[in-house]
Symmetry: C2
Subunit: 404 residues, 2 copies
């Protein structure tokens, strides 16, 4: 029947190409992945997950294996609210939405808040997964630079004022990562959090506060969330991916009852797997979360230290970076003329992967940056990986010098 | 900071009210749920699921608990392709997309195919979960009646021809349930399947073929899917909800490589939980699927028979229905003047729930129909439930007669 088949015109919201990042994995089996923003497989609580699964199936399965039901979802929401309180977030029933990871929460927030052509403001650099979702929502994206204290709120305020003066559209949404920024590694100062929330009220936009690394604090205290300064105009996001396992595929959003109800509508009466939620609820009975978290923090802190030491040893002053006090990433700044995308292949040839900085910007900039992740590999691989990365950089430099 | 808060204008795609159906559950603990389209909790393979979960965690967990990885997803896709072949569907790699249940597949298909204002044609009656998704896509919905052989393709063809003649918009999508229709209980004849596929080519629209009950065939053979007659313009959907458990929350879409790639883009580089997929893959090692399916079929067939017998005994000729040869539902037709929505509360008072027919139509019709489900309850509850339902109907009739 192919004979009379005409071309079908797809909506323009369908992305033309797959999002960045997915294609970074190498086929070489001995490539050390410093590109992955994934937790270590050594850090998963296997035995406890197995006990939790068995309990979810045998004790609660008659309900937990149905579409809805069992007590797991309620217990998970309660746990989320308790942890959020450590960041000065007050969340009541109806203010927490469990989703299939933060990515789905970003999608639901975009669909709940944005019409095609609406403006979304992001940080530069920012997380490409979120950008991809905003593009699917057919948003117009503008970015604002980070410094050591996070997004430069001064510049945001100036741009808002100018937009009003010039009659240009205001943003409907500002996406930011306040803690241990991916990829920037920096955290937003408390003073800026408060100012940002005030601006959201004043100029009537929502802030999407992505706090995926909230629990992985290696030094210092939990800071109050932006949400705590403006609960009606902030949607706070986090996830079990980094503290339990990405495969459990559960994240959450906290917001006003109104915005959460709107986001929830995209589940069309369904909800995120109650079986997975029951496993998480049971897990907290089989695991001391505080001990587990302490174990994760010690592991990742020590991995970070190994990466920092090896980078200093290999690069000296040739590379600048801030030591992140949490999260998974070190954001490298090479001299201005360096183009990190030009030694991605050298790196793979040397047996290491990383992400070039340009992938984290919505404008053609950031070419002299690179993101290294210390989360997935063990200490020995991190050391070897950074050595290989430095070797790749030297190859690149030699090649560039020969051409000049 | 609430003082300077202005109202936020949400996009119109956000549904004003929660979708129908979710609110049907009663708070009375002894209500027999004949409203639920859910499988029996007695039918879940608990021990095998537990063994499969343990294997997913201990044998494959290092990969299966990550974002992507392990062999489970590939094995699940292969299983899906093999079962689809029984319905004359040929699906190669890149033509199967695993989603969080059929509902997400309907959502992804809608977003991949529809612009706001596009036309979607559905059956009358149809499944309200799909309608809710089409409304979220801001589609214009038109419905076409069923008869004993499924959607009346004659009428569809006339409407297509008229649309062309009158310069009216053609549909982008036609949604239909070819087997054991929810709620209609009927199946689409093979001749109509072929004609429908031919129309999709001729008038350049997609058919969304929802085959959630595909495996639950109580009499007769598997029929060739509509997909088999028009693979470039049909998206075939099915799910593990009815054959394993809804809580596993995995369904799938089969389509051309192009449309599947477009649908997949809404995962934004992620995918449906690889951990859940690994559990399913391991389950097929721990379970004889053929035996399990035979067990399900015998259970549900016998439940159907109990419901049919009790309905006949209680209602005689006062209610018409076709005996479904598969699926979960019996679709009742009362005399024209009956309004089933007017005895929903009588039924709850008697201790039984059902869904009134009007919920399954996009136009104000169907008020003299009702859907009863025989899937969730055991035989004894089905019998008692139908008795209570008949009692509620008698209360209603007495009330109506007193008013006249």
């Amino acid at each position: 029947m192919t004979s009379n088949l005409q071309p079908f015109i797809y909506p323009k919201r369908v992305p033309a190409a797959p999002p960045v990042g997915a294609a970074q994995a190498s086929t070489r089996s001995d490539v050390i992945p410093l590109s992955y923003g994934t937790p270590s497989s050594d850090a998963f609580p296997y035995a406890e997950l197995q006990a939790a699964s068995a309990a979810a199936i045998f004790q609660e399965g008659r309900d937990a294996l149905q579409y809805a039901g069992a007590l797991g979802p309620g217990r998970v929401q309660q746990w989320i609210a308790e942890r959020a309180a450590l960041r000065s977030i007050h969340a009541e029933q109806g203010q927490v939405l469990v989703t299939y990871g933060s990515q789905q929460a970003i999608d639901f927030a975009s669909r709940a808040l944005l019409e095609p052509g609406d403006h979304v403001w992001v940080e530069a650099p920012t997380y490409f997964g979120a950008v991809s979702t905003f593009k699917t929502a057919e948003a117009v994206i503008t970015s604002f630079p980070l410094d050591a204290d996070g997004i430069q709120v001064d510049r945001v305020e100036i741009a808002l004022r100018e937009a009003v003066q010039q009659g240009n559209p205001l943003p409907k949404l500002l996406y930011c990562m306040p803690n241990f920024h991916n990829p920037g590694g920096v955290s937003l100062s408390v003073e800026r959090r408060e100012r940002l929330a005030r601006l959201a009220y004043e100029y009537n936009f929502f802030i999407l506060e992505d706090d995926a690394y909230a629990e992985l604090v290696y030094e210092g205290q939990h800071l109050p969330a932006i949400y705590s300064f403006g609960p009606e105009r902030v949607i706070y996001l986090s996830s079990f991916s980094k503290i339990i396992a990405p495969g459990i595929r559960l994240g959450w959003a906290i917001g006003s009852a109104t915005v959460i109800r709107h986001m929830n509508s995209f589940f069309q009466g369904s909800k995120a797997s109650v079986f997975s939620q029951e496993i998480v609820a049971q897990l907290f009975d089989h695991l001391s979360f505080d001990e587990h978290l302490q174990h994760l923090i010690e592991r990742y802190r020590s991995s970070r230290d190994v990466m920092v030491d090896t980078l200093r040893e290999q690069f000296g002053d040739e590379v600048q970076f801030q030591i992140p006090s949490g999260g998974f990433f070190i954001w490298l700044t090479f001299p201005e003329e360096v183009r990190t995308s030009e030694f991605v292949k050298d790196a793979t040839d040397q047996g290491v992967s990383f992400l070039p900085g340009s992938q984290f910007f919505v404008t053609p900039e950031g070419g002299h940056h690179a993101r290294l992740s210390f989360s997935y590999c063990n200490a020995e691989d991190i050391q070897r990986g950074v050595l290989r990365f430095a070797e790749a950089y030297r190859h690149y430099k030699t090649r560039v010098q020969q051409h000049n």
